[in-house]
């Protein structure tokens, strides 16, 4: 199944792109998506461990299962305010 990935701030810069598309096995988790992303973009390996994920605009734990068409956002530590 395919899922869409959105990258922000330091993650976007490391990847050199604001978005990506991942081909994952059905029922893959957020954590598995991170692993595939790190394979495709080695420059993200230093950044990903500190990032949280959002799935379809809600924070999601690493164990969250994805479905086809899920939008997974890679969120570095936030620093608004």
């Amino acid at each position: 199944m395919r899922v869409e990935v959105l990258l922000f701030a330091a993650a976007r810069e490391a990847a050199g792109s604001a978005s990506a598309s991942l081909d994952l096995t059905d029922g893959a988790t957020v954590s598995e998506a991170f692993a595939v992303l790190a394979e495709q973009h080695p420059a993200l390996r230093a950044v990903l461990p500190s990032c949280r994920a959002a799935v379809d605009e809600e924070f999601a734990p690493p164990s969250r299962r994805l479905t086809a068409g899920s939008v997974v956002a890679i969120l570095p530590p936030v620093s608004g305010g």
């Binding site: 701030a9 936030v78 620093s79 305010g81």
Partner: protein, 144 residues
């Protein structure tokens, strides 16, 4: 005006206060976060900031701002909550975030205002980038 939002224009605190005004309120508390001239690096050495940029995951950030405003109204029995965050370049000294809370009494207004800024810093997908004379970098934490 909408009670929550993102804008790449200067924030209007007076308009925010007006947006939460109510006959039921005896107090309006406001908080304005401003961009700071001096930053500190990992070794706690001061570095002068030339300008700041904020990047947001816009759709999720607006959802989180609304959820935080709703939570503040429920937890603190306040009347209205408004919170706006700026995106793009924010010159040093200008407001990056503005909050207004109206409530029957001042204690709840202050408490809810504090709750909103802490939650914004903890859980709204917005990132600050500082530009120095010798480079730029993302600010990594919520120490603020």
């Amino acid at each position: 005006m909408e009670k929550v939002g993102l804008t790449d224009r200067p924030l209007d605190v007076a308009a925010l206060s007006t947006a939460v005004a109510s006959d039921a309120a005896g107090a309006i508390a406001t908080f304005v976060g401003t961009s700071r001239r001096v930053s500190r690096d990992a070794k706690n050495v001061e570095r002068p900031v030339q300008t700041l940029w904020y990047e947001a995951y816009g759709r999720m950030a607006v959802k989180r701002l609304q959820e935080i405003a709703d939570a503040a109204r429920e937890q603190f029995a306040v009347t209205e909550v408004a919170v706006w965050h700026r995106t793009g370049e924010v010159p040093v000294g200008q407001a990056s975030v503005a909050i207004a809370v109206s409530a029957p009494h001042r204690a709840a207004a202050f408490d809810a205002c504090r709750f909103v800024i802490e939650e914004v810093k903890r859980s709204v997908p917005i990132w600050k980038r500082e530009r120095f004379a010798d480079g730029e970098e993302w600010v990594g934490g919520s120490g603020g």
